[in-house]
Amino acid sequence: MSQMDLHYKSTLRKLHILYQISKYVSSTLDLPKVLKIILTGVTFGDGFGFNRAYLFLADKRGRFLEGRMAVGPANQQDAAAIWQQIEQKKISLEEFLQVQAKQKQEASDLDREVQKIKIPIHSQYLVASAFRQNRLENVDLSSTESPSRALEPQIAALIDYPRFCLVPMACFGRPMGAMIVDNKYNCRRITDDDINFLLMLSQQATLAIENAKAYHDLKKIVRRLVNINQKINTLKEYNENILENIPIGICVSDHAYIINACNARFCSMAHKTRDMLKGRLISEIGLTIKGKNVKRLLRKVMHVQKNRSFERAEYSFGQNKGLCNLNLALFRKNEKELQGIIVIVDDITEKAKMEETLKEFRNLAQLGQLAAHVAHEIRNPLVAIGGYARRLEGQVARGSPIEQESLHIISGEVHRLENILSSTLQFSSQKQVVYQKFDLLASIRECIQVVCSYARDKDTGIRLSGQSCRGPVWVNGSPEQLKQALINLFKNSIEASYGGEAVKITVKRSRERAVIYIENKGKLIEAGDMEKIFLPFYSTKTEGTGLGLAVTKKIIMEHRGEIDVCSKKGHTVFTIKLPLGGGS
């Protein structure tokens, strides 16, 4: 075999090894494994056959070269043993690398030694400057021409052999590490051929290392992304949870009013499952609002592009019925684009009930105040009755004549007590009134009948004015209560009359309301007393209870009516307005 042939064969083998190395290196993206494969390839007996190989990589901030890994026998004996083993077993590099690629990497003694090395990149020493300039150095410290720069003492101590080759590793012109190979144990010189192959290998190795690093970084980024994604999901779930668990019915539709989503409360209100609701028109799931057309409402909100809300709307939905606050809100993608409409149904039936109860409590508190007033009011008559009774007792005991006046006063005061009692009972009655449609005009005639003899006693009269409307005036309410209210007013007018003019009652219809005027000539009400006269126990009469107007006002208010008074130019007019019942 010629010298040429030998050379050719060795080159082929080396190329094959190079191919093997790059193949295995690209089969893994684990940096330590990549490094190990490269170094193993370099030192494998059948290939490049360097005795030892060390690998250094720049740290992240580019300030130090750090020893990362080393391959080779620790000493001469070790070297002999290993070579013998490989010789006997005839393991090919391929098999060896296969095993290496699978095995978990454990640090060897040599690894540990090299990992202690950390040399500054920005120094004047040999390795550092070669690394910076991306320059291959074939060093022979034993030759007469000593190298241009001094070797880092740390490296000199590590290698402890004068001849070695420093191979820089750079990726796209950016230095990233360096490899040092030597032949300490068989002392073979490093040839130009070796150097050429080392340069090629270095290229391969650099790419592989860079890949592994990039992969490592990518993995980190992916992990971070996964984390972020998890957080976003959690937040999303959280938001959805809030919407889902909120005790307000919420449903979202697209611009064609087809339901996209709704929360649990909405489903339970509708008495339907989510699947039954999704994809259906909002106007066709049984939601009705009293006095409104849901379909038209939705359309209007969309067209006018303005949210709408209704408070205390009477609604029915599935089997639910009650009061709700209804909100129709535009669902916007951005400022210009509409995505659909959000329907929010907040059932306030229970709340309204509570408010009702609260109002009752307030009434009760009023009742308490009333009771206190009554207690005070009845003390005067009681004192008088008791006092005169005692006087009579004394007179009877002494056998002296009985004062007739005492008896008269006692019966008078008892009558006053009765009045206070019945008015109080009326005022504080919590009786549920039964409302019915009745003719107000007929009731007024009856009331006039009731009080006309009383008017005569007081030297006056009471009559229905000819300007009153004819025919029935229908109102909804309790005829008994309204008659009571009217009689109280009639009596007051009769009591205030003087000058012989009869009390005039006028009944009219005005728009949706019945209006009653009660007018008398006589004693006026002072401007400052206009409010006071409606308070319980306000009276300017010695025999008065002060409850008449309080009772009247309460009844009128309960009938959603109004009561007003005007007192001037010798005349006092009370005006009552009541909503008309249908049909009149």
Binding site: R379, N380, V383, I385, G386, A389, R390, R391, T540
Partner: protein, 116 residues
Amino acid sequence: MKKILVVEDDEHIRKLYAAELADEGYMVVVAGDGDLGYERYLKEKPDLITVDIKMERVDGIRMMRMIRKRDKKIPIIIYTAYGEYSQDFSTWAANAYLVKSANLEQLKKKIKQLLR
């Protein structure tokens, strides 16, 4: 004979007090409200005044204030149907505070005590 001014707006009670106190041997003058009460006080120069503090027009308290400006010594008895005022008036210029009752014994006792 000692003279007592009774200021009370309830006619029947006014009459009752007048009759009862007259039976006790006092000379009684009456007034139906605070204004009249003050007038009567100036004219009649009574030895003692009883006054209801809750009356329609000038209430008893204002009348008492006006009287006290001229005379710091004259005994004044406040009585009323409103028991809860006693706290507010204990420091007032009145010499006694009574709640209205059909039993006048307490009032009579107080009057006797204050006129001694």
